[in-house]
């Protein structure tokens, strides 16, 4: 369980987050949505201790993120930031292997090798495993980064707009993989999404943010209602029902 209590964040005179309190239970896929500048990425960074906490408290499975040793947290949560821009010339298998670093500090054993192969398998990277990252397409590289986070073997996986740079096919594939990670491996996935319809189909729960505050929080059917959406995104849009899942017609 992730507990966020009264968290505010100010950067360079701008209020990024304002008194956010939120509880995310273990398990399932939670999507963070909202317009640009809503504070989704900042909240994710704070949970993942990439950004130092200013006020309030955050704990993951009872571990306060600001005082728990970084290495201990790395066994509990994995974070993939938006556009990590890894310039190192690493092979895909090597990159994914670094996900085992928090557990082994570099000494890879037979069990780690199995986990690395499993991660490669899970994200369809077997054919690319021995290719260098800089020879891959943006979408392939993105999948390799997600596979590395997966390979970290943590209960919680935090992903910041992982669908960036992905075409429709790969975006769908990645969302399905994340869903499978939640369903089959009991991972807790928290993902910032731009496309609200991906959230509608693949998330168990949607947290909508605006101007540094949480505006709505609940299952897709509750959050993806015209009145809530208008409040979050600032314009009216229709929502229709397709096979039991809401579909937001945000583009019309």
């Amino acid at each position: 369980m992730i507990e966020i209590n009264n968290v505010s964040l100010r950067l360079g005179g701008t209020q990024i987050l304002e008194d956010v309190s939120l509880t995310m239970p273990k398990g399932g896929v939670t999507a963070l949505v909202g317009p640009n500048g809503a504070g989704k990425s900042s909240l994710l960074s704070l949970i993942a201790r990439l950004q130092p906490l200013q006020t309030g408290s955050i704990s993951v499975d009872g571990l306060p993120v600001d005082t728990t040793p970084s290495r201990r947290l790395a066994k509990t949560l994995a974070i993939l930031r938006q556009d990590p821009a890894v310039a190192s010339r690493l092979k895909v298998r090597e990159l994914v292997g670094f996900g085992r670093f928090p557990h082994q500090r570099g000494r890879i054993d037979a069990n780690d090798l199995l986990l690395i192969e499993a991660a490669l398998q899970q994200f369809g990277l077997m054919d690319l495993a021995d290719r260098f990252l800089d020879n891959l397409s943006g979408g392939q590289r993105q999948r390799a980064m997600v596979a590395m986070a997966f390979c970290q073997g943590t209960d919680y996986m935090l992903l910041d707009e992982p669908l960036n740079n992905l075409d429709m096919l790969f975006a769908r594939q990645l969302m399905r993989d994340l869903r499978a990670a939640a369903d089959n491996d009991r991972r807790t996935v928290i993902v910032v999404l731009h496309d609200i319809n991906h959230a509608a189909v693949y998330a168990d729960r949607i947290v909508a943010m605006k101007s540094g505050r949480v505006v709505a929080d609940g299952p897709p059917a509750e959050v993806l209602r015209p009145d809530v959406l208008a409040q979050v995104f600032g314009y009216d849009m229709d929502v229709i029902d397709v096979g039991g899942a809401p579909l937001v017609l945000h583009h019309r």
Binding site: A48, R49, L50, P69, S70, R71, R72, L73, A74, K75, A78, I79, L80, R81, P84, A85, V86, A87, S88, R89, L90, K91, E94, F98, G99, F101, P102, R105, G106, F132, A149, Q152
Partner: protein
């Protein structure tokens, strides 16, 4: 990928071959067969030839590793300590120690140089991280001029204090003065290379950036500090004992990265070895090209290294 074993074989054989050649070259004739029969020949080998060759190998390996580490810290492939302020800061330190304590030992000078090098490199790193990452060529350019300004200060102070001839020794790298008893500090370079290999995984993760490092539970701040110390110590030792040698730290990590990637646990030994090979080759060229006179290895590398660097620069853009 078939090139890999060949490249490794080439580097390994090159190191052995050049090591042997380096032992054979000198103004005095030294037939290798006579070493075991002639005490004078053995003496020459042990006092002059061997120390010089070992010093070249250690310096080449050390500078290549320093370049590699700095490139990781700055997250830019086009920097190296000798041309971006570390070397010049080290020279400033030696100059200061020489001025304040004229009788200081070479170890004291190295210590002083390491401290100023650490400060100079930290300033460079701080500013480099503020330059926009979208313009990767700005950082090396900034470094070159930054190093140039510090170098100008060194020249000016030395000129005032009438110490210019010393500055020449620190800025122009050459190995002709290396004898037994005057290079042993360079063995610290071997320790630095070993240290780098010990933390190779951490360095690889650090090369992926602060956020990836933190996410994997690596203490990014500490690895940066460790890296800075390594860069400063290696550069200072090189400057104090043999003088500035440019481009080894720049060219070698780029070449090795192309051939075997950046997973340092496997690539780092090759960076060190390739650095040794490059420097040995240039030192031998410098000794042979105008035999029996010597051309300083720094001058040879100015030509060979800048040529290689331009090749790397444009080979890269043409691929992209």
């Amino acid at each position: 990928m078939a090139v890999l074993p060949n490249a490794r074989l080439l580097v390994g054989a090159g190191l052995f071959g050049l090591f042997a050649i380096s032992l054979c070259i000198g103004v005095d004739d030294l037939p290798m067969g006579s070493v075991f029969t002639d005490a004078g020949a053995l003496q020459l080998l042990l006092v002059s030839r061997l120390p010089r060759t070992v010093a070249v190998v250690l310096t080449g390996a050390g500078l290549a590793i320093a370049g590699l580490v700095l490139q990781i810290l700055v997250r830019n492939r086009f920097v190296e300590p000798i041309t971006t302020g570390t070397g010049q800061s080290a020279a400033l330190g030696v100059l200061a120690v020489t001025l304040l304590f004229p009788t200081a030992s070479i170890a004291m000078k190295t210590l002083g140089a390491s401290l100023t090098a650490l400060a100079g490199t930290s300033v460079f790193l701080t500013i480099a991280h503020r330059l926009p990452p979208t313009q990767p060529f700005l950082i090396p350019l900034f470094g070159l001029v930054y190093g140039g300004v510090i170098g100008a200060a060194v020249t000016f102070i030395a000129w005032q204090a009438d110490l210019l001839q010393y500055v020449d020794i620190w800025t122009n790298g050459e190995f002709s003065g290396v004898l037994r008893g005057r290079y042993e500090l360079l063995w610290i370079l071997a320790a630095m290379v070993a240290l780098a290999w010990w933390v190779a995984d951490r360095l690889t993760i650090a090369s992926m950036g602060r956020e990836v490092s933190l996410g994997l539970g690596l203490n990014y701040q500490r690895i940066v500090q460790l890296g800075l110390v390594m860069v400063a110590v290696i550069s200072s030792l090189a400057v104090v004992v043999v003088g500035m040698i440019p481009f080894v730290g720049l060219v070698v990590p780029n070449l090795v990265s192309r051939l075997m990637g950046d997973n340092l646990k496997s690539a780092l030994p090759w960076v060190a070895m390739t650095g040794a090979v490059l420097l040995l080759a240039c030192d031998i060229i410098g000794r042979l090209i105008r035999y029996p006179y010597e051309i300083p290895v720094g001058t040879v590398l100015g030509v060979v290294g800048s040529g290689l660097f331009l090749w790397i620069l444009f080979g890269r853009t043409q691929r992209a």
